[in-house]
Subunit: 157 residues, 2 copies
């Protein structure tokens, strides 16, 4: 299985780029992993919230392939403890999922179309995280999940 | 009201120090805020999990003053959406709390003594976050809460 993580917008702060790259490299010891940043929509300020979500959704869908299993990161989604999230990933591996694609939306979330394409939504927190920071938090969580699957000591509890 | 955030251990990565400092400066436009990093316990490897939590707890308690209202960050605590967390803080301001003290524990969490001293526990997520990264996530969340209280546009939803 390979894991893709698609996020809307470039990473705008150097400290986040560095942090994301550290955890991405750690994660790639466990699973083939790709981080895709979808470019921000130009003139986004002239669009309504809904138009922006639709345009972002179209750009996301262009990067997907048939057979990708799509999981949206959405604060209203299902919540997991870290061991439960590891089990969730483990089940995907065992059920023969080829490409597991997690998607973090833009500042306003996802279009209706994106919800239709997704197999499920996962919540990192009921709190809204800065959509840049979500990348770091989620990649660390993916890394943590794979260390739990392997029975390694990174996750203490 | 002033807000203190106590965390165990130095911030060990430069990118996190930078990120934390950016959000700390933003937050201080809204509320007097202090971040206290409790030094790591020396020879922690020779202590049991429980001994380590007790020693960390003693060091935390030394920094507290009578009348501090203590809130532990613990993944088993109460969960909030960001607007709910803003309301939680707003109520503390209105009820005359002088010093609101949030505490992030070490890698193994808190001693029994710390739970006894706390008025409540708050969960950022059911997932376990890297205890270094929690600082960034939480300070951003505090900043977000104050922008919500002031009705400012940082929090979109």
């Amino acid at each position: 299985m390979t894991v893709k993580f698609i996020a809307v917008g470039k990473i705008d702060a150097e400290y986040l780029r560095e942090a994301v790259s550290i955890y991405k490299n750690r994660l790639m010891h466990y699973v083939p992993f790709e981080l895709i940043c979808i470019p921000d929509i130009k003139n986004a300020g002239k669009l309504s919230e809904n138009q922006l979500k639709i345009r972002e959704g179209e750009n996301i869908l262009e990067t997907l392939k048939t057979g990708d299993e799509i999981i949206l990161l959405d604060e209203k989604g299902e919540t997991f403890s870290s061991p439960e999230f590891a089990t969730f990933i483990s089940k995907k591996i065992n059920s023969g999922t080829k490409r597991l694609v997690f998607i973090a939306g833009g500042a306003y979330g996802f279009s209706e179309e994106m919800y239709k394409k997704a197999s499920t939504t996962v919540s990192l927190s009921r709190m809204t995280f800065n959509h840049q920071m979500v990348r770091l938090v989620f990649i660390e969580q993916l890394y943590r999940a794979f260390t739990i699957i392997r029975g390694e000591p990174y996750h203490h509890k």
